[in-house]
């Protein structure tokens, strides 16, 4: 527990506290009056209200649309399942700059919906909500579906045999077992949408603003640190409240589960109802997730003289071009992969140790730490980035222009994923197995290695996949960290998008497509590893 604690103290708590402190402490005096002034500003209250309700609505909508999907992925076997499961996670890891514009091409003016039915959703709150579903679909499918696939269907069958109706059996057997996973997924979706930035900026138009957008503007554009500090504190309070609520609901529902190999639980759908469910899910996925991505790919090939790989070719020639602006795609890819790999290892070590510690020990302090680990998801990237700038500026931690800062910042976002994915599974491991091993003379390390690890390896790989994919697509913190010239793919894409001309735009789409393919590839590779070893369960 010491390592994760030190990691968070140094790379999160200290920088964030410093930047907030600098805002609240003007000229050596604590300016607490600012809190009242900001809190009573009607504009701020309006932003606060909108932030809350759009997050709640987005979470509800995501659960509604994605829970059937989680079921389909957990219980049905169908051709192309692995590919599809990797594909649905792609939006989640793509930078919002890119996906936002692709999404706009669908629901915006002149988009597909507009052409077909004259429906325009841009600058309406629906565009924001749908985009949030688009981004977070995978969170629900993977966290809930992962556990669902491992629940022993025989328990539900037993309930049916004993006379329970189909719904009653599901409600009394499956739902309680799934509870923690659903709550974890809902919490993550809520956190993501609560702190939504790019989606609101691009799709919502200038009339919508979330707390995160305000913090960003006050910090990065106006350098109004006092106001930003108060807003950060409000966001902190809201996030902490949520986490407390989450911890409370989870603790009431937790129980040890009997987990089985998901390959045994998934079967081909039979009966009209199951086929209908499968097809509905597939249609939803195609409409909501695949179509925007397809628009992106289409644009990367659409040159002035018809379709062709012209943007990819010019990207490649950029490698030898005589300009520091041009980023060779392979270099950007390599930077992204290298940063992503380092960030994943940091996130796995820190998150894994934290999750293990949280499973073993109880008590208020530990639970507080659990909440603390989730906080980076609720804190603006600009706060962290600027915090790094003013704190990690002296030896031995003068990391400001070191490449380490990028993976560290990315790992901060990755750790919560690791913890949240590992924790439900680790807690579901029957404690008696560990006790039995200990009684038989195994050391704690050996118990962990031979009891816990085999049972949680799936979760570990899922966690690693998420952490890696998140670092690949991470844009916010990366762009605020002054880095020597090693742009990652998302940073290179944003740079290209910021310039006029067909060539730059096309190249941005081509780079995004490459990013998408790499993400999908990484996720697909993880799917493979998962099934290769599942026989051991």
């Amino acid at each position: 527990m010491a390592l994760p604690f030190a990691f968070f103290a140094l790379f999160f708590a200290y920088p964030v506290a410093s930047i907030v402190g600098r805002g609240l402490k003007d000229g050596g005096q604590w300016q607490l009056g600012r809190i009242g002034a900001v809190l009573t500003d009607p504009d701020v209250l309006h932003v606060l209200w909108f932030t809350f309700w759009q997050a709640a609505a987005s979470t509800g909508l995501t659960l509604l649309i994605a829970l059937p999907g989680a079921y389909v992925f957990a219980r049905f076997d169908f051709p192309g399942k692995q590919l599809l499961r990797a594909l649905v996670a792609v939006p989640f890891v793509l930078p919002t700059v890119v996906v936002g514009s692709a999404f706009l091409a669908l629901v915006g003016r002149g988009g597909l919906l507009d052409d077909l039915w004259g429906v325009r959703l841009d600058t309406s709150v629906w565009a924001i909500l749908l985009a949030h579903v688009f981004f977070n679909y995978a969170v629900v499918v993977r966290t809930v579906g992962g556990l669902w696939g491992q629940l022993d269907p025989r328990q539900e069958e037993a309930a049916r045999v004993l006379g329970a109706g189909r719904f009653a059996a599901w409600r009394r057997v499956t739902l309680p077992a799934l509870g923690p996973a659903v709550a974890a997924a809902a919490l993550m979706v809520f956190l993501f949408t609560f702190t939504s930035f790019g989606v609101v900026q691009i799709l919502g138009g200038p009339t919508f603003s979330t707390l995160e957008v305000e913090i960003y503007r006050q910090t990065a554009d106006f350098l109004d640190l006092p106001t930003a500090a108060v807003l950060t504190l409000i966001q902190f309070t809201a996030v902490l409240g949520l986490l407390a609520l989450h911890a409370w609901t989870v603790r009431r529902r937790e129980s040890a589960l009997k987990l089985v190999d998901p390959a045994q639980t998934a079967r081909r759908p039979h009966g009209r109802g199951q086929w209908a469910l499968l097809w509905t899910t597939l249609v939803v996925i195609v409409l909501l997730l695949v179509l925007p991505l397809a628009v992106l790919v289409e644009r990367s090939f659409a040159g002035t003289d018809g379709y062709g790989p012209v943007f990819y070719e010019t990207l490649q020639s950029a490698a030898t071009a005589d300009s520091t602006f041009a980023v060779a795609p392979l270099d950007a890819l390599w930077n992204s992969l290298a940063f992503g790999a380092v960030a994943t290892v940091i996130a796995l070590v820190v998150g894994g140790l934290a999750a293990a510690a949280l499973t073993r020990r109880g008590g208020r302090l530990v639970r507080g730490f659990d909440a603390l680990l989730m906080l980076p998801l609720g804190v603006s990237a600009v706060t962290v980035g600027f915090g790094f700038l003013i704190t990690l500026d002296r030896p031995p931690f003068d990391l400001r222009s070191s490449w380490w800062l990028v993976p560290l910042a990315q790992a901060l976002v990755g750790v919560p994923f690791v913890v949240r994915t590992m924790l439900p599974v680790l807690r579901a491991v029957d404690g008696r197995l560990r006790e039995a091993a200990a009684v038989l003379g195994a050391s704690p390390w050996r118990v962990w290695r031979e009891v816990d690890l085999p049972l949680v390896r799936r979760a570990l790989l899922v966690a690693a996949g998420f952490a890696f994919a998140v670092s690949l697509g991470e844009f916010g913190a990366t762009v605020f960290i002054a880095r020597p010239d090693h742009p990652t793919l998302p940073v290179a894409v944003a740079r290209l998008l910021g310039r006029a001309g067909e060539l730059n735009y096309g190249q941005a789409m081509a780079l995004s497509t490459i990013l998408m393919v790499v993400c999908a590839g990484a996720l697909l590779a993880l799917e493979r590893i998962r099934t290769d070893h599942s026989g051991e369960f």
Partner: protein
């Protein structure tokens, strides 16, 4: 643990180790030695590799470029790390941010070589030389030539034109609060109609159907019908963009067209001048001075147009044919004194937001 998974774990560990090593190898090491000089800038900074290599060879310094965010963010980061800067020279503080930087005392005075070739109106700190003008560019309304030819309307030229009924619902601009060209356009109207008259102008512009989006990328790539990126699907033939956007539209086109597909309304321009300066507390002050001299040298100045699509500050720097042929020369751009901008910036943006967005 099975053999296969052990192999997996070993492979992953090895891959990570190698990655880490490779990343170490490619990082630039410490910046404290006297042979390295560090340039801090925003994400739009670019230079020809050969030009930069020429400087490195002549001066014996290694140049490390540290970039983050857009111009506003880069300046704010420099303010936050005042006294212990991230590098030696800062490139890219413009006249809308200048007096904030000067008030925060970010720069040490240094008169760069070649300043005599820079016109006086660009030298906004000519008494103390804390900052050196390095380039300038104009933010102007761009128009789609095809649209106006097809509808047989003359494209607008001035701010006054934009509120005429024939241009109703044609203009898309950017949110002043989130976009630098958006703010520049607002400042242009403030320069034109005065601190008391600009709100009246915007009321008329709003009545004439101006549309506001958050970023330049959306306005130009998605909404503007003249940009090639939007494949002509945009619905607005007028957009707030840069005077250099038409040349960029032509870039890489074969064969070269007779004129750019888009034009510039020359009476709607606001001028932004970018400055560089020696950061206070620079670890390599000598190298920083040499770097500033280089940034104002003819070689770098002539490299500027095609790298960053702005005009060189030096009058004797040659501008490429692409700019002279397809670009517009702006004779009387609007300007607002930097001190006035810093003083009113936040208030103006707030007033603009409640006027235009609500």
């Amino acid at each position: 643990m099975s053999t296969t998974s052990r192999i997996t774990v070993t492979a992953v560990a090895a891959a990570v180790g190698m990655t880490a090593l490779a990343a170490c190898g490619s990082s630039d090491g410490g910046s404290t030695d006297a042979k390295t000089v560090t340039l801090v800038s925003h994400d739009s900074f670019a230079v020809s590799k050969s030009v930069l290599a020429g400087f490195e060879k002549e001066s014996g310094y290694q140049v490390k470029v540290v970039q983050s965010g857009d111009a506003g963010k880069a300046v704010n980061q420099a303010i936050l790390s005042k006294g212990n800067p991230q590098g030696d020279v800062f490139f890219g503080i413009d006249n809308t941010l200048l007096s904030r930087g000067l008030k925060e005392d970010l720069f040490s005075p240094y008169k760069a070589q070649g300043l005599d070739n820079v016109p006086a109106e660009l030298q906004l700190d000519k008494d103390r030389h804390r900052v050196t003008p390095l380039d300038y560019g104009d933010t102007c309304v761009n128009y789609d030539r095809a649209y106006f030819a097809q509808h047989k309307i003359t494209p607008p030229e001035t701010f006054d034109d934009l509120i005429k009924p024939e241009y109703k619902n044609l203009l898309v601009t950017e949110n002043s609060a989130t976009s630098s060209p958006g703010l520049a356009f607002q400042l242009g109207t403030i320069a034109k109609y005065g601190e008391n008259g600009w709100q009246e102008y915007w009321k008329k512009l709003k009545a004439n159907g101006v549309e506001v989006v958050n970023g330049w990328e959306q306005a130009y790539n998605e909404r503007f019908s003249g940009s090639a990126a939007g494949k002509g699907k945009g619905d607005k033939p007028l957009v707030v963009s840069y005077a250099s956007s038409p040349p960029v539209e032509v870039l890489g086109k074969k064969p070269e067209p007779k004129e750019a597909p888009t034009g510039v309304a020359t009476g709607t321009c606001f001028r932004q001048i970018e400055f560089g300066g020696l950061l206070k507390g620079a670890k390599n002050e000598k190298g920083g001075k040499a770097l500033l001299d280089f940034l104002l040298s003819k070689k770098f100045q002539e490299d500027v147009p095609l790298q960053m699509f702005v005009n060189p500050a030096r009058t004797d720097a040659k501008v490429p044919a692409l700019f002279t042929k397809y670009g517009a020369t702006i004779d009387k751009p609007a300007t607002v004194a930097p001190e006035t901008i810093t003083k009113n910036r936040e208030q103006w943006i707030k007033q603009w937001s409640s006027l235009v967005l609500k």
